[in-house]
């Protein structure tokens, strides 16, 4: 058999094989169907040519000529159709247009098979089998050239319009087609014009390059560089030239067909292995860099789930991406459920500074990602047609936003149906575009990252929950201990308290003695008065001053002792009356002494001296009693005060829930605050921070709030400790500089729903930019801070259905405003039942 026929049959087999591959890929896509038309016609063309050469009968040859030329005309028609449906997967051409494209072929069919207008006859022309064309041959040429030209124009226009992956594929198609059209066109269109048919048979083999490019570029969607495709083609061609060429050479040249058959059997078997080996080696060399970082990314994916610290994890991801793939920029956005936005959590990139800190979940960009669900080059967003409820303007807006983010590629990350976040990657430093392999590896990385991030976030939440649980358990344990200790403390407290009270009673009971003293004095004074009265009956004895003074003494005693004897006299009256008595007696004594100088009667003088002596003695004793009383009173007060403190402290601990809070209760704000301050003082005692004045202003009749006691205790304890520390860090060390002010009122006096607590401390203000950030997990300005305190506080407040925010009071310091719902009577049972 003629070698040309053999080659053409081999091409037929290859075309059919290709057709089968595409056929089994699925016929639901118009691109696949169009390509099938291509390949079938290529096969028919090749078959037609083979049969043309095989047929010895001229009539049969002419028939096959018509077949091959018809097939040849269908090829550009199919290519034109392809220009309408590629690279978009949806058909953008109506059936009518499709019919129009192939309509000339119908005419050509008639012209070929029923008239000699295009090909008159088959003949040997210039030593080779060829054709004698009819006058209408130009029709075929026109159809061929017009279709191809139109198709190329369309493809070039698309190439200019499209970006990213689609653009690369179009480049494939255009370049591959050019090569094929040029080569096949020369041998099968141009040379025949000049009646040169020697190379006619080379047409189909010369389109092999074109076909393989098309296969790679379109059917498999393998976004490989064209040089890789050409390398494969080249290797394939070389291998099979040897596999087939050597046996045929042996057969034809030396007529050793048997040997040739054996050689072909051997080479055909080993051919695929040789091809694969050479292909692998060639691609390893070509794709060394790409494979290197893809391997790094795969390894990184596996290791990520071991990292529990979220920040570290995010840093690692962006670092790997920028360093390994060598890209300009990488950023990670994570979804914040509360704010319903995607927040830029981590980024890395030299000159590219992404200023888009957060993106709303309803933005077109997010909506596009949500529907696409896969890695998408930004510019390709325009090419995706199946985005529901997203208008073209929205897509453009999404692309513009992506450009502002310096994003070339966006990779959404899903856990089940929830989009956890997304990665944005900038251009590769090399300028190359992202390949399909890149997208596949990045997709794996992103999905693994999503799991790792979920893991890390869960770990952090678990850490916080565990910290809360431990703290609650601590309080509950203290509460339980306090309950059992309380009883043991209360009895001794009672004893101490009653001891002081008893002393107080004893002191006051001394008042009974005063009665005796007064009675005795009055008796003496009366006797003296009688004596003086008797004396006044005689002449020149009585000085009216003496009687006056005696009356004054008597009155002083009466007044003072009536106070002292009175039950219920308070301490101030008691002490003051003694002071007045002592001062008064002193003066009257002097008066009496002076007044009695004139008395000549010895008995009267002696009696007066006795009164002066007695009253002086009483005065001294009263002073002593007053002093002792003052000391004892002070001790009693101190003792009672300390007993009260012990009682308060144990009561605070006793009031802690004995088990972890499981239901909402009515909470007294004052008690809650006192418990917080008490614990804070205990914790800071040794650091001398406890000496911080606290001004508390609780509105009168403030209703109780509804909440979990131990959780709210954590909140106020945190605030107090933070306030202590902030004041210390600011250098405010003495009790004159430090101050905590707490006020609590209702939101609406007429219809209160919330209690609002303002918790402020003296000290430096919080920068405005940080007023909200201080509640973020991990945010801290302290060197050793965990960044969890205020974050936990906010969580606890919100669990208690309240709110907390921070602001500054100029000239004073930062203030936290906490709103908590009021415990409303009448809905208690409902609340508890619903909680239960």
């Amino acid at each position: 058999m003629d070698y040309k026929i053999i080659v053409l049959f081999i091409m037929l087999i290859l075309f059919i094989a290709l057709w089968l591959i595409v056929f089994f890929k699925g016929q639901n896509k118009i691109v696949n169907r169009t390509f099938n038309i291509f390949v079938i016609n290529m096969a028919i063309w090749s078959f037609g040519l083979a049969m043309f050469y095989k047929s010895s009968d001229m009539k049969a040859s002419l028939f096959w000529t018509d077949v091959l030329y018809l097939a040849g005309s269908l090829i550009p028609a199919a290519f034109l159709l392809l220009s309408f449906v590629f690279p978009s997967e949806e058909s953008t051409i109506s059936h009518f247009r499709q019919i129009l494209i192939f309509a000339p072929n119908v005419i050509l069919f008639g012209l070929f098979f029923f008239t000699p207008i295009i090909v008159k006859e088959v003949a040997i022309v210039n030593g080779a089998k060829g054709f004698i064309y009819g006058p209408g041959h130009i029709i075929w040429d026109l159809q061929f050239d017009t279709m191809f030209t139109w198709a190329f124009i369309r493809f070039i226009k698309k190439y200019r319009h499209y970006t990213g992956l689609a653009k690369t594929r179009l480049r494939y198609v255009i370049m591959g087609t050019l090569v094929g059209v040029i080569l096949a066109g020369v041998t099968n269109v141009i040379m025949p014009w000049f009646n040169r048919f020697e190379l006619l048979w080379l047409g189909p083999p010369l389109t092999l390059t074109w076909l393989i490019c098309i296969v790679y570029g379109i059917v498999k969607y393998r976004l490989m560089d064209i040089n890789v495709a050409l390398t494969r083609v080249g290797i394939f061609t070389i291998v099979y030239v040897f596999v087939l060429g050597i046996p045929f050479f042996a057969g034809y040249k030396y007529d050793l067909w048997q040997v040739a058959t054996w050689i072909m059997l051997f080479l055909a078997t080993s051919g695929p292995f040789i091809y694969l080996y050479l292909q692998r080696r060639a691609e390893d060399a070509l794709l060394r860099d790409q494979r290197r970082y893809q391997e790094t990314l795969r390894k990184a994916s596996k290791g990520m789930t071991l990292i529990k610290d979220l920040n570290k994890l995010l840093k690692l991801i962006v670092h790997i991406l920028t360093k390994t793939i060598r890209i300009v920029y990488a950023g990670i956005y994570l979804y914040d459920e509360k704010k319903e936005v995607f927040i830029l959590k981590m980024s890395r990139g030299g000159e590219a500074r992404n200023t888009i800190a957060n993106i709303s979940k309803n933005s077109p960009f997010i909506r596009c990602l949500f529907q696409i669900k896969n890695p998408v080059p930004i510019e390709d967003m325009k090419n995706i047609n199946n985005l529901k409820n997203i208008e073209e303007d929205d897509v453009n807006e999404a692309i513009n936003l992506a450009r502002d983010m310096h994003a070339t590629l966006a990779i959404p990350s899903f856990v089940e149906d929830e989009m956890l976040g997304f990665l944005v990657l900038g251009d590769k430093i090399s300028g190359h575009s992202y390949t399909d392999d890149d997208l596949a590896v990045l997709s794996i990385l992103t999905n693994q990252a999503a799991l790792a991030i979920e893991n890390a976030e869960f770990y952090e939440r678990a850490k916080i929950a565990e910290a809360e649980r431990i703290q609650s358990e601590k309080f509950a344990t203290i509460g339980r201990l306090a309950t059992s200790a309380k009883h043991e403390i209360n009895n001794p407290l009672q004893m101490i308290s009653w001891s002081f009270q008893h002393m107080s009673m004893v002191l006051k009971d001394t008042k009974d003695n005063y009665k005796n003293i007064r009675e005795r004095l009055n008796e003496t004074i009366n006797n003296t008065k009688e004596m003086i009265a008797k004396l006044t009956q005689r002449k020149n004895v009585l000085a009216p001053d003496v009687l006056n003074s005696l009356d004054k003494i008597s009155a002083l005693f009466d007044r003072t002792f009536s106070i002292l004897e009175r039950k219920g006299a308070d301490d101030a009256e008691f002490v003051n009356s003694i002071n007045e008595f002592c001062a008064g007696i002193d003066n009257v004594q002097k008066e009496l002494l002076k007044a009695s100088e004139g008395l000549k009667d010895k008995n009267a003088k002696e009696a007066i001296e006795e009164i002066i002596h007695f009253s002086g003695s009483v005065s001294k004793n009263m002073e002593k009693a007053r002093d002792i009383y003052n000391v004892l009173r002070s001790s009693i007060e101190t003792g009672e005060e300390n007993a009260k403190r012990i009682e308060n402290q144990t009561q605070i601990m006793h009031d802690l829930p004995r088990r972890l809070d499981t239901e909402l209760t009515a909470i007294d704000i004052d008690k809650l605050l006192e418990a917080s301050f008490s614990f804070a003082r205990q914790q800071t005692y040794w650091e001398n921070l406890s000496d911080t004045p606290i001004e508390k202003h609780i509105a009168k009749g403030l209703p109780k709030i509804k909440g979990y006691f131990s959780r709210l205790l954590v909140v106020f304890l945190n605030l107090t400790m933070n306030a202590y520390q902030a004041m210390t860090d600011a250098g405010l060390k003495t009790s004159w500089d430090r101050l905590i002010k707490v006020t609590a009122t209702v939101d609406d006096p007429t219809e209160p729903s919330f209690v609002e607590i303002h918790f402020a401390n003296k000290g430096p203000l919080i920068p405005d930019a940080n007023l909200e950030r201080i509640f973020e997990r991990g945010f801290t300005t302290k060197k050793d801070g965990s960044g969890l305190g205020l974050h936990i506080s906010r969580i606890q407040v919100e669990i208690n259905k309240g709110t907390i925010y921070a602001r500054n009071i100029n000239g004073f310091g930062p203030e936290f405003v906490i709103r908590l719902p009021i415990w409303k009577e009448g809905v208690e049972n409902e609340t508890k039942a619903s909680d239960n």
């Binding site: 407290l493 004893m495 009270q501």
Partner: protein, 128 residues
Amino acid sequence: MRLKLLIIEDEPILLDQTEAFFDLYPRLEIFKAKTGEKAMEIIYKEKPEIIILDLKLGDYPAMDGMTVFEKLRKFDQKAEVIVMTALRDDSFEVGALRLGARAYFKKPFNSELLRNEVDKILKERSLA
């Protein structure tokens, strides 16, 4: 007419202190008990008009203050009972008030409250 006052308290010092408050009351004859069993003996024998009762007693849990109270009520509906206790469980307060406690004081409390209460009883009884 002298009234009988029974003090039931397991803490010896508190028992003496309570007694000391009422020592000089001419109208009171004072009895003391540290255990529930002893208290019941005195109750059955002397039928005190006023009882100052601690809830946790020396023979707790066999005979605690509430048990004494319940037994007292079966025996004497009219005795005035003033409860004083270091315990904080609200259920005791509810129980004591249900049994007709005159007053319920939580230790530590001011002794004047106790004396005032006794004074009131004395006044009522003297008017009656």
